[in-house]
Symmetry: C2
Subunit: 135 residues, 2 copies
DNA sequence: CTAAATTCGGATAAAAATAATCGTATTTTT
DNA sequence: AAAAATACGATTATTTTTATCCGAATTTAG
């Protein structure tokens, strides 16, 4: 059950698309069409990225989205933080021990948090540009 | 959405428990009680591990489960393969290109499969023994 | 031989998370 | 004023995960 959410997956594609067309504002509609992604869903997601400061938007006709950073400065972790609700590999891997009734007897909390960190590092070190296929 | 399934999480705990009590067969009931895990669910999961060859079981009274390998020879990847349905980070990261209608225009399939491999490596290199807290 | 403790197996239900959609409001350009 | 966008909130649909239930088969012990 280690998978990227559709939000993150679509966001990667969208950001790459916007990056390729960075001379103009890119509308959600255009991105959705060109990449065959569901418009409403993509639209929401772009709004979220905007709120989180990863995109800027322009309202109204001729509106759309533009990058605020280069895609080699945006990591997969950034997208996961912006778009996904939870990103702990186990519930109990949050900092306070108030996660579950097993805290007392639990042997795995701390080592699993270590595992968590290894995984985080991968996402932290992978930029959206890294995920671009340059055939 | 990068998290371990409960199946895998419980399995880690259960295998560690069995390992600590490897002189006898361990019943699902005992393990569930000692670790405060839901019996039915754990029971199913142990049966699966048995079918996949990670445990041996003995039927009937005095029955239960025993390890077939040491826990330092069992990896998190083994558990994920045995217990989780899907473990691709994106649908499209399977080998044939028949995943979705975007294959033609998709720029991220191959690099994401690379990302996938990095993550797999972590799970492949983490044994159940590694996840044991030795305070 | 019977009863009890177990694993086994299938089916199903409940809960949670993800993905998708809808409707309306607001902003901006022409 | 009309059109083309984003913004926002609510809701629904779908899928996945988690949990439970029931009855059968197996083994041990008395
Ligand atoms: S299971 Fe909750 S602390 Fe480990
Ligand atoms: S989205 Fe299906 S191939 Fe990339």
């Amino acid at each position: 059950m280690i998978k990227l959410s559709k939000k993150v997956e679509y966001a990667i594609m969208a950001l790459q698309y916007i990056s390729e067309n960075s001379s103009k504002t890119n509308t959600a509609k255009e991105i959705a069409e060109k990449l065959s992604l569901p418009y409403d869903f993509l639209s929401k997601l772009l709004q979220t990225l905007m709120k989180k400061g990863l995109l800027v938007s322009q309202l109204g006709v001729k509106g759309g989205y533009m990058l605020v950073k280069q895609i080699n400065e945006i990591t997969v972790e950034d997208l996961m933080n912006a778009l996904d609700e939870r990103s702990r590999i186990v519930e109990c891997a949050d900092n306070d021990g108030s996660c579950c009734s097993r805290t007392e007897i639990c042997d795995i909390r701390s080592p699993i948090m270590n595992l968590q960190e290894q995984i985080n590092n991968i996402f932290k070190n992978t930029t959206i540009a890294n995920l671009k296929n340059n055939i």
